[in-house]
Symmetry: C2
Subunit: 168 residues, 2 copies
């Protein structure tokens, strides 16, 4: 059943173009950030979310949700950011399992230093390339993609991968 619905030529082209565009864009932004601020984009996101949180701090789990990251990944990332003194860990008062990640002043300063360049990159490489109408479309498209993925969408994940060939 999986193979009943191949992609037609038009869809193929769309898929590959989309893939190419996103990878070019994210690679570029990631590289600019690494070069100018010394951190990958995922770490930048962590700093951003912390900077927006009350007290500049969040539970690890919350932070993981906000950044779309696994708990494991976040744990490793925060460990790195802690080494630099940009984030600190504190015990949670109400739940002894919990850890609060707190953005330090140095972390805030690092973010403040990195943000203008990064935002500039986003503007130049993304928004400047699109018409206002396309920007609107892009948001709707993105929302449409998120919907099913964020919801269950479980049918596909759970299904015994519709064999169709994995072979031995």
């Amino acid at each position: 059943m999986a193979e009943a619905r191949w992609l037609d030529a038009e869809e193929q082209r769309t898929w590959r173009t989309f893939l190419g565009a996103t990878h070019l864009l994210f690679d570029r932004l990631d590289r600019e950030l690494q070069r100018d601020a010394g951190i990958p984009h995922a770490y930048y996101e962590i700093l951003v979310r912390l900077s927006e949180a009350p007290e500049r701090s969040l539970r690890m789990s919350e932070l993981a949700r906000h950044t779309g990251s696994s708990r494991s990944r976040l744990s490793h990332a925060v460990a790195r950011l802690e080494e630099r003194g940009w984030v600190a860990r504190r015990d949670c008062a109400t739940d002894k399992r919990g850890q609060l990640a707190v953005l330090t002043d140095d972390g805030y300063a690092a973010l403040a230093a990195a943000a203008p360049g990064h935002v500039h990159g986003v503007r130049v490489h993304l928004f400047d390339a699109l018409t206002p109408e396309q920007v609107r479309q892009l948001r709707q498209i993105s929302e449409a993609i998120i919907g099913p993925l964020a919801a269950g969408d479980a049918a596909v994940t759970a299904a015994p991968p519709a064999d169709g060939g994995r072979t031995r």
Copy 2:
């Protein structure tokens, strides 16, 4: 000058939504592929491009271009695929520096086994979520993004990163 053009609230939301959608999508597809075929998406791409090439083979550099990968990354990847017997290296007849990557029969079989499931994922998670009109828009948007990035776009890369703050 970099900080002269911040993102307004609308742009912020669009950017974050776009980021969220693409990461959800690619993470999901990558995971499905890893689970069902045992390879990351980047490796899948290599197999696809080889399978479409005459003689199922391409120069390393060509393959790198087609897959949007660095030579280094490709070299590592092909080494891995070679270990599995899915790709073989052959010397190039006309250029003694050159290496041909060739898709083996086992590699072709692995691709044939993995493709239906992956294509199904792309359809379900991407195309089924969008209207035909949105699919058309997505391609145009992607093309618009690629344009400047693929061309020089050098102004930003080369410029002494418009300081505006990196420094501490």
